[in-house]
């Protein structure tokens, strides 16, 4: 098996901050907006280096989305920053009309996604944002897995012309992808080759999937692990190629199973090669207060749950 080393746990939001800082130095058209969450979004360095290219909007996310749309008219590339909940559900119609339907080059950068936001509880733990955003025509949806990949994704989306939803999180998680990686939107990454079951994971669940594959290997089950950092457009080929070999699939995400990565994968499989599938995701429920680890365990979003789902799905082949 290929071995992945945690180079030191970091939060993915800091990867965003690092990517934005780099963009500030290299791309004069990049501007940033924030709705009173500079520290949480790790935007401080960009602001310090580019005060004229930063817009503090205040607690007014609807206005922020509209201003971002307007800034594109004149060639700017706006990156908006707030929590995932306030980046999507709160401002859905503003994104729909002023950004997505209008085809504006806005990068909606959303931190604190999912239950791993932790103690603040369900008001802030959005588990529906991937679904909301992927349903918008033309919207790209990206959920990178660690610090390095979030930094690379942040920089890559500046070079893509069109609306993007970039989702990341609050807790420190394993940082295991290469620091110098290039990031290709819509291109899944084969992390572990296997033959018995395919595990397709996104975001924080990718590391959990790698951990699960190790445990499965000890049990004599060969798991293929794919990092789907881009949920839309989905890399159909890498998934279809893998299930042609394994004949069973587990999808894993920190999101509701309604509207998430799992449903996108299920559609592709149904259209091409119907395959037994297990969904590691929240099951149509809100989150609650707790530590990230407690919540991941309670809602079945960790390596242990992926192992159990893999063992189960193999029986259905």
């Amino acid at each position: 098996m290929k071995e992945y080393i945690n180079q030191g746990s970091q939060d993915t939001r800091s990867g965003f901050g690092a990517g934005l800082t780099e963009l500030g130095r290299t791309n004069p058209n990049v501007v940033a907006l924030c709705a009173d969450l500079i520290g949480s979004l790790k935007m401080d360095q960009f602001i310090e280096e580019n005060p004229d290219r930063f817009f503090q909007i205040g607690i007014a996310e609807a206005n922020m989305m509209g201003i971002a749309a307007g800034l594109t008219i004149g060639g700017k590339i706006p990156f908006t920053g707030t929590f995932a909940n306030f980046s999507t559900g709160r401002v859905y119609d503003q994104i729909r009309q002023s950004i997505a339907y209008s085809g504006k080059n806005v990068k909606i950068c959303a931190s604190h996604a999912g239950v791993t936001l932790g103690e603040d509880g369900a008001t802030h733990q959005i588990l529906e944002d991937i679904g909301l955003m992927k349903m918008l025509p033309g919207m790209v949806v990206i959920n990178p897995c660690d610090f390095n990949q979030t930094k690379a994704a942040t920089m890559a989306i500046a070079d893509y012309d069109g609306p993007v939803y970039l989702r990341f999180g609050r807790p420190k998680v394993a940082n295991f992808t290469p620091a110098d990686q290039s990031f290709e939107i819509g291109k899944g990454l084969l992390l572990q080759e296997g033959s018995d079951v395919t595990i397709v994971a996104t975001g924080h669940l990718v590391w959990e999937a790698l951990e699960a594959a190790k445990t499965l290997n000890e049990k004599g089950i060969s798991a293929e692990v794919i990092n789907i950092h881009t949920i839309k457009p989905l890399d159909n080929d890498i998934i279809l190629k893998s299930v042609a070999k394994t004949g069973a699939i587990v999808t894993a995400e920190e999101h509701n199973f309604l509207g998430g990565l799992g449903e996108s994968v299920a559609r592709v499989l149904a259209e091409n090669t119907p395959t037994p599938q297990e969904f590691i995701a929240t099951k149509d429920t809100f989150g609650e207060s707790g530590t990230p680890a407690q919540l991941m365990d309670k809602y079945g979003l960790n390596a242990k749950a992926i192992v159990a789902a893999s063992e189960k799905i193999i029986q259905r082949k």
Binding site: F55, K76, P78, R96
Partner: protein
């Protein structure tokens, strides 16, 4: 246009016809042709997108697209959607609008982009008065003053009417002028909002006030359905098309128009 497809919004369109004519023919500095970025020219955003008939009519006559294309309004495969959109690539349109309350924020963003680009041209916006009931406007109004967005002239079509009746009956807004002033805006009020000369003077005065640290608002007191007797003094023609007889009567009252566009 509205008669042909038996749908659309004639009342607010007629009420703002003189404003659009003045803005696009006398006031705005425009380049030849159209590009989305609008650098080194004035740009305009329509927030109350339902008055698309008058917007399209003025854009066509200003040369953005053929006047004949107005015949396709609201028809299948048309660039002239019921509400304005960039999606079909109609020249002159820079943002989709229709869902109310979003245009002012977009205009503020465009105004800030102009400042970053050291482009001294103006950004204009038009909103309905009923539309001010949408909360996003007040986020935008607060922000524009706080951030000194002084290259922005936002006009409010103060016709006092909305779908369910008068604005005073549906949700009284108190003094719109007082509210804008309290939020830190310069405010000009035009009592004769359907008078070309009065509108032009107000827009020129507003422009002369720009660059002084404050956004500028023009409160334009208009008559919904202006120029067509049976459409005036009522909110009934917000979103209703005239029948054959009514169209004939309306056109007879406005002989200088080019027919039913």
């Amino acid at each position: 246009m509205v008669h042909k497809v038996n749908s659309g919004h004639p009342g607010g369109s007629l009420g703002c016809a003189e404003f659009f004519v003045s803005l696009y023919n006398e006031i705005m500095e425009l380049k030849e042709g159209f590009d989305m970025d609008g650098i080194n020219e004035d740009v305009f955003f329509l927030s109350n997108g339902h008055i698309s008939p008058v917007f399209y009519s003025v854009l066509a006559r200003r040369g953005y697209f053929p006047v004949e294309e107005l015949n396709t309004f609201r028809l299948i495969d048309s660039r002239l959607q019921g509400h304005p959109t960039t999606h079909e690539g109609l020249p002159g349109i820079r943002i989709a609008s229709g869902s109310l309350g979003q245009g002012l924020s977009v205009a503020i963003g465009a105004a800030q982009a102009k400042k970053l680009n050291k482009d001294s041209h103006m950004v204009y916006a038009l909103m309905g008065d009923g539309e001010l009931q949408e909360g996003q406007n007040w986020e935008a109004i607060m922000y524009a003053a706080a951030k000194k967005v002084d290259n922005l002239i936002a006009t409010v079509d103060l016709n006092g009417k909305q779908i369910d009746g008068s604005t005073d009956k549906v949700l009284p807004m108190g003094s719109v002028e007082g509210k804008f002033k309290a939020f830190g805006w310069e405010v000009l009020t035009v009592e004769e909002g359907n008078d070309l000369t009065a509108i032009g003077n107000a827009l020129r005065e507003a422009k002369s006030m720009s660059g002084n640290g404050k956004p500028i608002c023009i409160l334009l007191k208009t008559e919904m359905g202006n120029g067509v007797d049976f459409m005036m003094h009522t909110h009934a023609w917000h979103g209703k098309a005239p029948n054959d007889e009514q169209l004939e009567s309306a056109l007879a009252q406005n002989p200088e128009t080019l027919g039913d566009y």
